[in-house]
């Protein structure tokens, strides 16, 4: 699904990623953990196609397509979805209107006509139900005045609507209380299939109790310094990140 080879990236001329290798296959869940400032969010921004992040070396391939050739919307059309750590507020655009615009943009890019309103409404209702989202919430302006938890839930709602091949959840657990965390994880698990993949980026092991990873990678100073299975997450939880620094 996603192959990253020797990825180097800069932000404002500063090297942040210093040679990342990652191979995520369809059907897999990967977790990327690491202390603050290790480059976790830079990695997700680079995959998303944020132009503030310059890839200086290396490759990112999604389903064999070089992402460097694609702009942010084209990457989305190919199946990339990033659940942002800090989702933006868009006063004046309702959640419904936003998701409708996004879905139809995806369909158009894939040579399909707009989704019929009735089908779209049903999908919106079903997804809202899955994520225990009140329908009133759907006619509010996107993220405007939403609590941190509501914003995150709204990100997962959009993910569920867009059905990406590769979902990257960037610190989705921050700002969520335990009940909301369970709802979000439950939503992600229901959407998981053998045809898609999930990358969970997190500082803490908490979310991984509910979205169980097949592989865990530890990012430190722009490199993956250790990879393992879900036991590695437990180890990090128990021992903290200090011992990792010695590995680097």
């Amino acid at each position: 699904m996603l192959t990253i080879e020797n990825l180097h990236a800069q932000v404002e001329g500063k090297d942040i990623l210093k040679g990342i290798d990652l191979d995520v296959k369809a059907g897999e869940v990967h977790a990327i953990m690491g202390p603050n400032g290790s480059g976790k969010s830079t990695l997700s921004s680079a995959i998303a196609g944020n132009e503030d992040y310059q890839v200086t070396k290396g490759k990112m391939l999604l389903k064999g397509t070089d992402l460097a050739e694609l702009n942010a919307e084209e990457r989305a059309h190919l199946g990339v979805f990033i659940s942002f750590q800090y989702p933006v507020e868009i006063p004046g655009v309702t959640v419904t209107n936003f998701i409708k615009t996004a879905i139809n943009a995806h369909r158009k890019a894939n040579g399909l006509k707009d989704m019929p309103a009735s089908e779209l409404l049903k999908k919106i209702r079903d997804t809202a139900k899955l994520l225990e989202i009140d329908s009133k919430f759907l006619s509010r302006s996107l993220n405007e005045g939403f609590s941190g938890g509501e914003k995150k839930r709204n990100e997962i709602f959009q993910m569920a609507m867009l059905e990406p091949s590769l979902a990257i959840l960037d610190e989705t657990d921050s700002g969520l209380d335990i009940d909301a965390l369970k709802i979000v994880a439950n939503g992600v698990n229901k959407l998981k299939s053998k045809d898609n993949a999930v990358v969970v980026i997190t500082h803490y092991q908490r979310l991984l109790e509910y979205i169980v990873p097949d592989f865990v990678h530890v990012l430190f100073d722009g490199r993956i310094v250790k990879s393992g299975t879900k036991e590695l997450a437990h180890e990090l939880e128990a021992k903290g990140y200090d011992w990792i620094k010695e590995l680097a």
Binding site: E51, E73, V88, I90, V93, T96, T101, A102, N104, I124
Partner: protein
């Protein structure tokens, strides 16, 4: 012949059939003198620094349409807010259309200025209000006064709520080559009365038309006015609108101005507080393209203590369009505890679009809350990236963001079908497909 000369020399023709000894006509004749002395404003006048009338007044216009134009209901129905359930005062080329109108004298007066100016039963109101608030030294208002004969006359008596909104619509048929119109409206809302009014000017064919409109609005104690100006005319039409609002104690006057189309639009919107606890709301959405020009010139004169004013103007400019916002807030020494807020936000889509924005606060009281803010900017890059990362192409994302920026002003529109319609017009203008809402 210069157009100013034509306006002066045509006055004899205008006077034909009028009672020249009447006090109303004396007011008119006096106003003509003021116009004669002052002439049209030029860019040398501070208030007209960024808006030039030169290209408009270098043309010739007919002042009196030669023949009465008829238009079919089916051709203009789309310009009405509702087919039924509104009072309508409708004019075609400046002439009242009884066929399209729906006036009343049942419990309130929604009728013609021409009738109010001559009928004895309105004499008291005319003597009390006609041309009593409009400044005597404004040349365009004086020009309108000198030719004042037709327009809407609205009187809402004490403790009366106008059950239906009132639509005032001026159509220009295009039968005349070029037309100069000067409607004059007088609106009196008595104590504890309420009214909603929608005003629009609409050309039915591309042809030069200039409307120099003046409205005087008097709000008595505890009254409420909810006024909507819809300016979405053809690119050959220009409008100079001077509106004067007199507010007594506890009155609330709200004016929304939607400037979406036209060649040149100048809105002079003036509020005068004459009693305590008056509340004034001024909101505007302006979306321009091509070489259109819109100038919002507002004045809120806080002349009494404990009053409030809120201004919120949002504008979007594409191509070579130009915008002006000149917002003056005047707080007299006696007007303590004034709350006056002003906000003007602009988005320039293209490099060749321009906006001149100038807040002007003159505060002579020491215990007041006044604030103003203006921004001129492009769209927020972070929001744009967020949208693109969800698969919305850049062009569409920008359109949706611009729509959202403007659409926020609609929250305070109190007529649901008007809100829906303007929402749709804004979306169409910006190329946004709205679809449905839950």
């Amino acid at each position: 012949m210069e157009f100013k000369e034509k306006l002066l020399s045509s006055y004899l023709a205008f006077e034909e059939g009028l009672d020249l000894s009447d006090s109303v006509h004396k007011t008119r004749a006096k106003a003509l003198k003021i116009f004669e002395e002052k002439g049209f404003p030029t860019k040398k006048d501070e208030a007209w620094k960024y808006t030039s009338l030169a290209s408009l007044i270098s043309q010739d216009y007919s002042l009196f349409p030669k023949s009465e134009a008829t238009i079919e209901l089916k051709d203009v129905r789309k310009y009405f807010l509702y087919d039924t359930d509104t009072y309508k005062v409708i004019f075609i080329d400046g002439v009242y259309s009884p066929f399209l109108s729906n006036t009343t004298h049942d419990g309130l007066d929604v009728c013609l200025m021409s009738a109010a100016l001559i009928k004895p039963k309105y004499r008291k109101l005319i003597n009390a209000y006609f041309n009593k608030m409009a400044p005597q030294d404004d040349s365009l208002t004086a020009l309108n006064t000198s030719y004042a004969k037709e327009g809407a006359f609205i009187y809402i008596p004490k403790s009366t709520v106008a059950e239906k909104p009132i639509e005032i619509i001026h159509f220009s048929s295009g039968n005349e080559n070029a037309l100069w119109l000067q409607p004059r409206n007088l609106i009196v809302v008595d104590q504890n009365a309420q009214v909603q009014i929608i005003e629009r000017h609409q050309s039915l064919k591309e042809h030069p038309v200039v409307t120099n409109s003046v409205s005087e609005i008097y709000l008595h104690k505890d009254s409420f006015l909810d006024y909507y100006k819809l300016q979405n005319d053809l690119p050959s039409a220009s409008l100079i609108d001077s509106t004067y609002i007199h507010q007594e104690k506890n009155s609330h006057a709200s004016v929304h101005t939607f400037s979406l189309g036209g060649k040149l639009i100048r809105n002079n919107l003036n509020y005068f507080h004459k009693g305590e606890h008056a509340l004034s709301t001024l909101k505007g959405v302006t979306i321009l393209e091509g070489k259109q020009h819109v100038d919002h010139s507002t004045l809120v004169h806080h002349a009494q203590p404990n009053c409030e004013s809120h201004q919120d103007y949002k504008s979007i400019f594409s191509n070579r369009s130009e915008g002006v916002f000149n917002g003056k807030i005047l707080v007299d020494k006696i007007a303590q505890k004034t709350n006056a807020f002003q906000q003007n936000n602009n988005i320039l889509i293209d490099d060749n679009a321009t906006v001149n924005t100038k807040p002007q606060l003159e505060i002579f009281a020491d215990d007041v809350k006044c604030s103003h803010g203006c921004t001129i900017g492009q769209l927020n890059e972070e929001v744009l990236f967020y949208m693109r990362s969800r698969g919305i192409p850049e062009k569409e994302a920008k359109a949706l963001m611009t729509y959202a920026f403007a659409n926020n002003v609609l929250d305070s529109v109190q007529l649901p079908s008007l809100k829906k319609r303007i929402n749709q017009q804004i979306a169409n203008k910006l190329g946004v497909n709205l679809g449905f809402e839950l």
